[in-house]
């Protein structure tokens, strides 16, 4: 057996391979379900679908989880395209969320709602920008390792949020902030066509903007060149340091804004779990989509769908939530694994190996 790199592959053939992988993964999942839980796999699948989109409320929750994952993945895209390994989205989200909560707490009762929301958006983007600027500055100036730097900043953000929770604790002794402005809904993003309609619109706008920014703008071109080769960038007269700093500020700003959407649009509170690991899951989304925003929508939807389905089957079949993680894992294994067959074909040689 030999692996042979394919020179090119037609779109329809690549699609067939991916579809075959998806079907195969569901079959393997079914076998695993029967073997471990003795449940009817079709019922379990139905449970997942029911959990994700079974009722209007569940559908909205799935949409909410999708767009939160999507906006973080979109925010990470410019940085990753530049080969700047920003694993600090978690911290950027938390900082954006904390500032949003602060605006809601201190101004949400006195200013008009539209102004409060505007302030939330601007301030959360600014703090995310700052959280992206810090590692970018040190990378550009001293060539520090951005992976460690952004990771450590996550912990700093976590500590700041912990401090804020103590400071804003409500009711006292609960060790949580509680729902902010439950009475007047100050700083809450108002519903549109449904609970999270406004958030959907905002995330869609950001996604479209980044898609255009990366593919059509001068900045996007600079990012691609810097990511491929800093030497070439310097040769072409691109100011590499400036591009690194500018791009990370943008990336951080979007992640900070994601924190605002989560706090002001959904949870209306702040906790150390506000980011909920989305900063890391989004890295998977971005890479799996090969930084194509359109595919990111699909991947985010899939992950959110499975996550919501998990909660359902956990209660319906008395499984724990990890059962769905196993299913997600198997499906991802097949979907990512099939890329190998898109890039390579296997060939079986019949002749015997040389004798020595």
């Amino acid at each position: 057996m030999r692996m042979i790199k394919r020179g090119s592959i037609s779109r329809s053939k690549a699609l067939c391979i991916r579809l075959a992988a998806a079907v195969l993964s569901l079959l393997v999942c079914a076998i695993v379900i029967v073997a471990i839980t003795k449940q009817n796999p079709l019922e379990v699948y139905a449970g997942i679908v029911d959990g994700a989109v079974g009722t209007g409320r569940r559908l909205w929750v799935t949409i909410r989880e999708t767009i939160f994952l999507l906006i973080v993945a979109v925010g990470l895209t410019p940085a990753f395209k530049m080969r700047f390994w920003n694993i600090g989205a978690e911290g950027q989200i938390l900082m954006g969320g904390a500032v949003s909560a602060a605006v809601m707490i201190y101004l949400g009762k006195s200013l008009p709602n539209a102004l409060v929301i505007l302030l939330i958006f601007v301030s959360s983007a600014l703090i995310g920008m700052l959280w992206g600027l810090i590692p970018a500055y040190f990378k550009a100036r001293y060539n520090t390792n951005e992976t460690l730097f952004t990771l450590m900043l996550n912990y700093v953000a976590m500590q700041i949020v912990t401090f804020c929770i103590v400071y804003w604790e409500n009711p006292p002794g609960s060790n949580t902030v509680g729902v902010i402005n439950a009475a007047n809904r100050g700083g809450w993003i108002p519903p549109l066509f449904g609970t999270y309609g406004m958030c959907v619109l905002l995330v869609a706008a950001v996604t479209v903007f980044i898609a255009i920014y990366m593919n059509r703008s001068k900045h996007g071109y600079e990012i691609a060149v810097v990511g491929e080769s800093q030497n070439t960038a310097r040769y072409a007269g691109i100011n590499v340091k400036k591009v690194i700093i500018r791009t990370m500020m943008l990336s951080g700003a979007i992640c900070g804004f994601a924190g605002a959407l989560i706090v002001s649009g959904s949870s209306h509170t702040i906790s150390t779990g506000t980011a909920g690991g989305r900063g890391f899951t989004a890295i998977i989304v971005a890479w799996m989509s090969k930084f194509n925003p359109a595919i990111m929508v699909i991947v985010s939807l899939f992950l959110a769908f499975m996550q919501q389905g998990a909660i359902q089957i956990a209660s319906q079949f008395g499984l724990n939530e990890n059962a769905s993680d196993i299913i997600t894992g198997i499906i991802l294994f097949f979907l990512i694994g099939c890329e190998f067959f898109v890039n390579y074909r296997l060939e079986v040689t019949i002749k015997n190996s040389p004798k020595h």
């Binding site: 001068k218 072409a236 007269g237 040389p354 020595h356």
Partner: protein, 511 residues
């Protein structure tokens, strides 16, 4: 048929829709040196990669020492006694020569590291003595010159007991002296009964070293002939179907005034080594100034300093435009240089690492110089696309289209894309570093003619080169660097290779 070390019959290999090798037949006799000639992209390297187990043929049979074999991996090739020295060395920089040589070999017994090194070093010394290599087994690879690294690669193969050697353009990176040394070694190896295949573009080397020549054209084998019966013109003719390109059309320079002057410029590398030491010269519009020197004598720093990529520690670099005021380049970054309207074109030595972005297509690579033109947020892709199509047509770039990543093109075509882009802006100063390195004769002469066109159009051309024959034929004046110092500027029409050779080593001997 025992006398053949290698027999290839009907070997075919395609990559997607591109047929790299089309039913190639080739024989290598035992104890002979066979040269393989062919244009860029004619399938030489692909063919050799199949012998060394990197690619697997789609069709055809391979016989080694008369026996039909299947080579699935480099390990298979190595067990059959085939060793290949690639164009790009595959050595680990932080290891010593000895460590690199035994890397991946199974140890007989676990001695202490020092004992093992001693044993290996002893064996390496024996090999070096036998074939006339010059090597220090304990030297770290990062301290080695290109030629020393090549020595390590060759000894690595001998150490592993190979008796068939494949060398992919071994002389492309060597000075004339180093080439001579390499050839002496190859002859010693031949006398010891080793069979050798050498890929090269340089005809005089083919005539000097090889017993027979095999010619490939467009993936097909054309002919195998005895070298003694071949003359250079005949070989070129066979390679390019009757086209010969052995003359460069050099016109008399027209003095149109100084374009660039360098005054007492010194450049220091990041590690503190002085790379360019107090260099002063002038270059005029309408002339080609050659830059010669042993590799690493400061040529790279010289052109990069003018382009603004290296900071001049001392001295001034001044640009005199055809009209208007002189500009001080040495205080500007590359982005500022282009903003102030200096039409400086630069074809760097590292084409895919600096001049182009390998993963981007032709259009996006054309944009590298122009993306920032025009106002607004969006980058214009229409003009670069037209330019790409234009370059493909005018310079006969072989590519499936302008949407193909340049990395997929062969070396000569990559260079055509790069040069095509750089001259498109009708530059007033054109700098090229090793413009024909790795190119076949036909592509090389296309590039030389483009340089001449630019000269006639009034550009000041600075050409860093390694082939003195070409520099003497192409340039109007040649400046020679040695150890970062300018050792002389000669008239290319009257100077001899020996004159330049003396200048090249002039400083080196004092050290």
């Amino acid at each position: 048929m025992e006398e053949y070390a290698i027999e290839l019959q009907g070997v075919t290999k395609s990559f997607g829709s591109v047929l790299a090798n089309d039913h190639v037949n080739l024989t290598l006799k035992k104890g002979e040196i066979l040269a393989i000639l062919g244009e860029n992209g004619s399938g030489k390297t692909t063919l050799m990669n199949m012998l060394s187990g990197i690619y697997f043929p789609d069709e055809g049979t391979i016989r080694i020492n008369g026996k039909e074999v299947v080579i699935r991996s480099p390990r298979d090739a190595f067990e059959l006694g085939i060793g290949m020295v690639h164009q790009h060395f595959k050595l680990i920089n932080v290891f010593t020569a000895a460590e690199n040589i035994i890397l991946g070999l199974e140890g007989k017994n676990i001695l202490s590291r020092r004992d093992m090194e001693k044993e290996v070093a002893e064996k390496i010394r024996q090999i070096a003595e036998k074939y006339g290599f010059d090597i220090d087994p304990y030297q770290k690879v990062y301290n080695m010159s290109v030629s020393q690294k090549q020595t390590v690669e060759i000894i690595k193969i001998i150490y592993r007991g190979a008796d068939i050697f494949i060398l992919d353009e071994p002389t492309a990176v060597l000075t004339p002296q180093e080439t001579k040394k390499l050839f002496a070694v190859l002859r010693n190896m031949q006398e010891a009964g080793k069979s050798i295949i050498i890929i090269t573009h340089k005809l005089n080397e083919v005539l000097e070293i090889s017993d027979r020549v095999a010619i490939l054209r467009k993936g097909k084998s054309i002919r195998e002939i005895r070298t003694s019966g071949a003359v250079a013109e005949f070989l070129t003719e066979m390679m390019f179907e009757g086209k010969t390109f052995l003359d460069i059309n050099r016109s008399e320079p027209e003095d149109r005034g100084v374009r660039i002057s360098m005054e007492g410029v010194s450049v220091r590398a990041a590690d503190g080594v002085l790379k360019l030491d107090n260099v002063s010269f002038k270059v005029s519009a309408g002339e080609i100034l050659g830059v010669a020197g042993i590799s690493g004598s400061g040529q790279k720093e010289l052109v990069e300093a003018i382009a603004g990529l290296q900071k001049a520690e001392t001295g001034k670099i001044v640009y005199y435009p055809p009209e208007g005021e002189a500009k001080l380049l040495s205080s500007m970054a590359p982005s500022e240089i282009s903003k102030t309207g200096v039409k400086l074109a630069f074809v760097p030595e590292d084409r895919l690492g600096m001049g182009l972005v390998g993963s981007m297509d032709l259009t996006d690579n054309m944009m590298l110089r122009s993306y920032n033109e025009g106002k607004g947020f969006f980058a214009d892709r229409r003009a670069p696309r037209e330019l790409a199509e234009d370059v493909v047509k005018k310079l006969e770039v072989v590519t499936p289209g302008v949407n193909t990543p340049v990395r997929r093109l062969s070396g000569g075509n990559v260079q055509k894309v790069l040069v095509g882009r750089e001259i498109a802006s009708s530059p007033t100063v054109l700098m090229v570093a090793y413009p024909a390195r790795g190119l076949d004769v036909s592509s090389a002469y296309t590039i030389y003619n483009l340089l001449n066109e630019q000269k006639e159009a009034g550009a000041a051309v600075i050409c860093v080169g390694e082939d003195l024959d070409v520099l003497l034929e192409l340039c109007d004046r040649i400046m020679v660097l040695s150890g970062g110092k300018l050792t002389g500027i000669v008239d290319a029409r009257s100077a001899s290779k020996e004159d330049i050779g003396m200048l090249m080593i002039g400083e080196g001997m004092k050290q």
